[in-house]
């Protein structure tokens, strides 16, 4: 791939400006209180921009276009799900959770059920979810940097992780809020501007070589002579006799020159092979994706298992948002329950605005960069599309803009996740001072990087979908039933989390194994939420009904605190309880004596 100097500049700019912004506001974040709470001076609109900025991860920026390129209209449920999950959060969780005074999910668990054991169990799941969410971000970062620079894929992920960890350690949450708000607007700009420009190019006659209409019941074709470097072993299939040149290894034999592939059997291509196609050749696609444009264009044209997988995805995304650690933590920066609800409305607006664009770019990619279907690395769609449609400097600059946006996406969501997971670890596992937070950040940062390097990169959206399924199966029964049902007991919550979380983790392991050994897993291993979420809810309900002893004593008080309107003054402020009000901080620090 050609070195795009503009893209490199864009990325370096993002990588420099973001920590700089963090540093500037970090000079005032010196106490644990500041670190973790951004001093509650954050205004609602900026908080909404910060939440959206953090929420729009690589899955939203790159992953949606990539999966739309691969799966077509059925992939549109991803952005719908991501947004509807926020609505579900608002309807059921936002205001009561803020009023509970809980800063993190384990806090809420302890406040609601009073069980320290359950708290520790939920801390473990928060850490799992956070790490699982970070892995695709780092893989996506690796992919982005590998597209721009001749770097190995794992190196990009390591670079982003180190940068983010450094940013978090030096600034804590306050730095992150300002930075996240800025990053939302940066990402919106980075996706909207190329979308507008490329749309205009499309309507003006369609790029350098025209395009093939998407409605044809035929695969996309290469618009120019294209050479594809296969970087991992892939299995491809074609829908008609295809003539190409292959140099390397294909179909378990050496290939050096003209090759003919028939549609009767799939064709394996080994790593390191170069495939050369002439313009007008139909594009072979990776075995698990949609081969012809008609099924791509029309939703619901798959089999029954595809339908079930769509419903499963809906369960996962609608209920999973409330269980994500970096989402909940940012709620606490609202002053009260009413503000928490209002902020969520703003977030819905900002998210909706953003999600209009990746879909468009995904559709354009199907026409202009179909060669990504060959390698299966469709997540690079947004990065490759501008230079495919606009050769020359215009395309390079637009490509730089999207690369910068993608980079901002990795950095923002990774830092949000790192802050929240490290916060949970430092307050629940370590004593909870500023130094512990920094230590926790460093420790936690090691795991995603290890996993990102060790595991095969998958479609970002699919990995994120599984993470949402985990969040939906563990924390959403707890939150929804805990907030609205008096009779929840800690054994019930424990059972629900254990069963739901255990099933999803088992599905994850099976998924990884099947990825390495040929992809034999059935659909519910890819997206188990349709099965695991109802099971988790039912388990929680049933076990709670039979374990009456496990209910907290003062359920009425707790429910009062969660639901009483804010002016009545029941809302709890964890920071006040823990750190004291501003004027009491010195007393606590000085152990009750006047400081001399």
């Amino acid at each position: 791939m050609q070195l795009n100097p503009w893209a490199l500049t864009g990325i370096v700019l993002v990588a420099v400006v973001v920590p700089y912004l963090g540093h500037r506001s970090s000079r005032s974040a010196t106490s644990t209180h500041d670190f973790l709470l951004a001093r509650r001076t954050v205004r609602s609109r900026r908080n909404a921009a910060a939440i959206s900025g953090e929420y729009l991860s690589a899955a939203s920026f790159l992953g949606i276009a990539g999966i739309v390129l691969k799966d077509g209209a059925d992939a549109l449920w991803f952005p719908i799900g991501f947004t509807a999950g926020y609505l579900a959060l608002m309807l059921f969780v936002a205001a009561p959770l803020r009023r509970s005074g809980a800063y993190t999910l384990p806090d809420f668990v302890e406040m609601r059920l009073g069980s320290k054991g359950l708290r520790r169990f939920s801390t473990a799941f928060v850490v799992f979810i956070g790490i699982l969410y970070m892995v695709p971000q780092l893989q996506g970062a690796g992919l982005t940097l590998a597209t721009i620079l001749p770097m190995p894929v794992w190196a990009g992920g390591a670079v982003v992780m180190v940068l983010v960890a450094f940013n978090v350690i030096s600034g804590g949450m306050r730095a992150i809020t300002v930075v996240q708000a800025f990053q939302y607007w940066l990402k919106l700009f980075a996706i909207a501007v190329p979308a507008f420009v490329l749309c205009m190019v499309f309507f003006a006659g369609g790029g350098p070589d025209g395009f093939r209409p998407l409605g044809a019941a035929a695969p996309p074709v290469f618009t120019t002579d294209t050479t594809v470097d296969v970087q991992t072993d892939v299995t491809l299939h074609v829908t008609s006799d295809t003539y190409l040149w292959a140099y390397g290894r294909a179909d378990n034999g050496p290939a050096a020159g003209p090759t003919h592939w028939t549609p009767l059997a799939p064709h394996t291509v080994s790593e390191g092979t170069k495939l050369k196609f002439l313009a007008g050749t139909p594009v072979p696609v990776v075995s698990d994706s949609v081969a012809d444009n008609a099924s791509w264009l029309h939703p619901g044209s798959g089999s029954l298992t595809d339908l079930l997988q769509t419903y499963s995805l809906m369960f996962a995304t609608f209920l999973g948002t409330m269980g994500l650690p970096h989402v909940l933590v940012r709620f606490y920066t609202n002053p009260d329950g009413k503000a928490a609800r209002r902020t969520t409305v703003h977030v819905l607006l900002l998210l909706g605005l953003f999600y209009l664009f990746p879909t468009l770019l995904g559709a354009l990619s199907r026409m202009y960069v179909p060669e990504l279907l060959v390698t299966g690395k469709t997540d690079a769609a947004i990065l490759r599309l501008p230079s495919a449609m606009l050769p020359g400097i215009g395309g390079q600059i637009l490509g730089a803009v999207t690369a910068a946006g993608a980079f901002a996406a990795f950095m923002s969501s990774t830092s949000g996740l790192l802050v929240s997971v490290a916060g949970v670890v430092s307050t629940d596992v370590l004593p909870g001072r500023v130094r512990d937070f920094r230590l926790a950040t460093g420790l936690v940062a090691l795991f995603p990087i290890g996993l990102a390097v060790a595991l095969r990169p998958e479609d970002i959206s699919l990995s994120i979908g599984l993470t949402f399924a985990l969040a939906a199966s563990t924390f959403s029964p707890l939150l929804v039933l805990g907030i609205w049902w008096r009779k929840l007991s800690w054994p019930g919550a424990l059972a629900g989390m254990f069963v739901g979380g255990g099933l999803v983790l088992a599905a994850l392991v099976v998924n990884v194994m099947s990825g390495y050994t040929g992809g034999w897993a059935p659909w519910f291993v890819n997206q188990p939420a349709l099965i695991t979420v109802p099971i988790a809810f039912v388990t929680t309900y049933l076990v709670s009904r039979v374990t009456g002893y496990g209910r907290p004593e003062h359920v009425h008080d707790i429910m009062l605190r969660l639901h009483a309107p804010d002016p009545l003054g029941f809302m709890r402020d964890r920071a006040v309880a823990r750190f004291g009000q501003a004027e009491e901080k010195t007393r606590i620090a000085g152990r009750g004596r006047h400081r001399k």
Partner: protein, 177 residues
């Protein structure tokens, strides 16, 4: 202090009438500076923020320390006392009124959203003609899935926010009277 049932404290916390107007109200206890200096299990949050500290404040300055803030002490002492006595309005809140109303609102709107989105995949699967409809060259399905959901979800969000705030206000008004 005025004698109306509904009293505004400087920190914005309002004291509802715990007896719902049925019994003569017990005399209000005077704020005691030495009362309850320990951290209680249910400390309510003060409504107004302490003034923001100056930006580059690296070390805490010497400050006068108050052992028990009377503003915190008596203002919400009443609410806590009522809570511990489990009086009628607390139960009313939890059992009958506000929680159920809020839950019903949330469930109805959730049902609307789930109904709309849940029926779409089945519709596309069972009625292929629907998924092939086209409007000025753009497939209707892409508009329905890719553009329309976002204003819809935002609209439902605004609607819920309005309803929830109205429910809360109605409840507080009811309590006041």
């Amino acid at each position: 202090m005025s004698d109306d049932f509904y009293e505004h404290r400087p920190n914005g916390v309002r004291e509802p009438d715990p007896t719902l107007g049925r019994r003569p109200r017990p005399p209000r206890p005077l704020p005691q500076p030495t009362e309850r200096a320990v951290v209680e299990p249910l400390p309510p949050a003060p409504e107004d923020e302490p003034p923001p500290k100056p930006e580059h404040h690296a070390k805490p300055k010497r400050e006068r320390v108050i052992l028990a803030d009377p503003r915190r002490g008596a203002g919400t002492l009443r609410a806590r006392v009522e809570l511990e006595e489990q009086t009628s309005w607390g139960k009313l809140l939890v059992r009958d009124h506000l929680v159920k109303v809020q839950l019903r609102t949330a469930l109805l709107l959730a049902l609307l959203v789930v109904g709309v989105f849940g029926s779409l995949p089945a519709l596309f699967y069972l009625v292929p003609g629907f998924s092939r409809l086209s409007l000025a060259g753009i497939p209707v399905a892409w508009l329905v899935l890719g553009v329309l959901p976002f204003p819809f979800l935002f609209g439902v969000g605004i609607w819920y926010n309005r309803l929830a705030e109205r429910n809360e206000r109605a409840f507080v008004d009811m309590i006041e009277n």
